[in-house]
Symmetry: C2
Subunit: 352 residues, 2 copies
């Protein structure tokens, strides 16, 4: 079969890790006899430099038409440390999420056997963890009204949610729970926020359609602690945009490295796959960044296209690279050798 | 000397832990020849049950006039799981923070030698950690406009910050940093939020008065992960209300137990001291809750009154109880015995 894949390398280490994911996809294409047609487009700081905007029209068009989108990372310290910058790399990603209505971000968090020792958490705490975090991605304070008063002395961010926005992701999360351990935890701050109370009420309503799933609620402050204290208590976690951003980063410590976590962002018509790690500008161009999260994003992409065997082939290759310790420095355990970004990519491709 | 202390036991385990803190204060009074005059007032679910409101006028009045406030906890599952409740226990605490303008919440996070084994984190990660979290407590999304549309289908929370609100807590945080390791990390989400950009800009301005303090910035998603990955990189952490709520709960895992963390909430005229843990309703009345966070709150209270020796005496007693393992079940290590809430309180008082 022939598939068009929009590729957005982005900033920092984005291009180098995305290249390794493409190697893995190429290997899959060869073995399983597919054609993957890559259309590379710009987003982020690199797009600002070239076109003046973080998300050129061309990028939106190509992404809309593609069968799936493979994305690296955006972000650049030049903009982070300039609070007055009006145009910023991240706007590109946020705008893309909105243009394509990518409302559901799923982040699978697993403890990899070979990486247990890499986690700051004790082995007995994390071993066996398997959580799927469902983060609402196109609403909330990310997309609310933002204002700075004329005199620059008062800033404002609005956070809004509608019942419909909550319902659509709640259904996806409950369906996922049905295929897993049948437990769903809604994370909110319902003791303080009106939006959280709407989430709680709405999700409790949706739950009536999924009587086999056990629904419980947790405040975000406690939940962020609980995911570190006892991650095994969670199965499917559902939450709004900002809380999901924070919790899924914390959950990274379970996987042993943020360099291992991939995510899918699903809309009605489009889907985007990306590593959770950011653009990691300090490592840019050094061939030291861990490409596994990007490679695992490619695996999620294949799954989304219905190519389960192909997705599994990538997963197996990743497990093998962990087995053999053919990994970048961040995953190395004491005295073990490590290798480069591109060599990890080569190994994965060869193994497939 | 004679001091008036407003005591708000509150809900759940609030009353029983606060009682132990009072025992410690009574012991201090005896040894150091002070008089502590307690004025007990209501707040939270218990106040709703008795008076219909979570924060009666009488409570505000007594708190305003007291030399310091000792607070337990508020919260009750009857309200948490009813998203339509118009009156809630937490409103009492939020309103009190606002009435007394308690804008600066400080949460010291330390790894206690005897509790290293209790943390889900590996010993080498946490040992030696000493962080002070400065959380803005009277602004942000907690106190912004809240709205639910007439048809109940759209909810809204507004988050607002002014330069003045940021400046006053920034000065306190920088001053604290000067007396510590001279490092301040501002935690925000400046790549997305307008309020965060105002924080970044304003704090960078304030930093000019504290040239000896090293200022750096971190996004909240990354920061929440970093505090677990490598807590020792932090000295003073400064952040806005909601992020501070989340981060300080996560930081609890460093102390080995949320039952060990105390906090001060400082305003221009008043100061309140409370354990970080909540009302823990499951444990209410069972004499099993860990009273040490409340006892340590009493120590912070004494420090605030300028009674440093007295504060140290409580600290030493707490260390001793950890030494001897005279603690509640949550702090117990394998096969060790444990004791009750009130026995821990008795031991601390005796030791003082
Ligand atoms: C880059 C940033 C805007 C983004 C977010 O906050 O959503 C990132 O942290 C993520 O989680 O994808
Ligand atoms: C009880 C609740 C409103 C409160 C908060 O969110 O501030 C609590 O979690 C805290 O941290 O003191």
């Amino acid at each position: 079969m022939k598939y068009t894949i929009a590729v957005i390398p982005g900033d920092g280490i984005g291009p180098e890790v995305t290249n390794q994911a493409k190697k893995a996809l190429d290997a899959v294409a060869e073995v399983y006899d597919h054609i993957f047609l890559y259309k590379e487009v710009q987003m982020g700081a690199c797009a600002i430099d070239k076109t003046g905007v973080p998300l050129p029209e061309e990028t939106i068009k190509v992404c809309k038409e593609a069968d799936a989108i493979l994305f690296g990372a955006v972000g650049d310290p030049r903009f982070d440390n300039d609070p007055t910058a009006k145009i910023r790399p991240e706007q590109g990603l946020l705008q893309l999420r909105q243009e394509l209505d990518l409302f559901c971000n799923v982040r699978p968090v697993k403890a990899y056997h070979h990486l247990l020792k890499n986690s700051p958490l004790k082995k007995e705490i994390i071993s066996g963890t398997d959580v799927a975090i469902f983060r609402e991605l196109s609403g909330g304070i990310y997309f609310g009204r933002k204002e700075l008063s004329k005199d620059g002395k008062v800033a404002f961010d609005g956070c809004q949610y509608s019942v419909d926005e909550i319902i659509r992701i709640a259904h996806l999360a409950f369906k996922a729970a049905q295929n897993r351990k049948k437990k769903l935890t809604l994370i909110d701050k319902a003791n303080v926020l009106e939006t959280s109370r709407l989430w709680r009420k709405t999700v409790a309503e949706v739950a009536k359609d999924y009587k086999d799933v056990d629904l419980n609620f947790m405040f975000v402050d406690n939940a962020t602690m609980q995911i570190v204290l006892n991650p095994k208590q969670f199965d499917v976690v559902l939450t709004e945009n900002l809380f999901g951003d924070i919790i899924s980063d914390v959950a990274c410590v379970i996987g042993g490295s943020i360099g291992m976590l991939a995510s899918s962002s699903i809309g009605k018509e489009n889907a985007l796959f990306e590593p959770i790690h950011g653009s990691y500008p300090q490592a840019k161009g050094k061939d030291i960044a861990n490409p596994l999260a990007s490679i695992l994003s490619a695996s999620l992409l294949l799954e989304h296209l219905g190519l389960q065997d192909e997705a599994d082939a990538i997963q197996r290759a990743v497990e093998k690279s962990l087995d053999l310790g053919i990994t970048t420095k961040d995953l190395r355990s004491k005295n073990q050798t490590f290798t480069t970004t591109s060599k990890v990519g080569d190994f994965i491709a060869d193994y497939i």
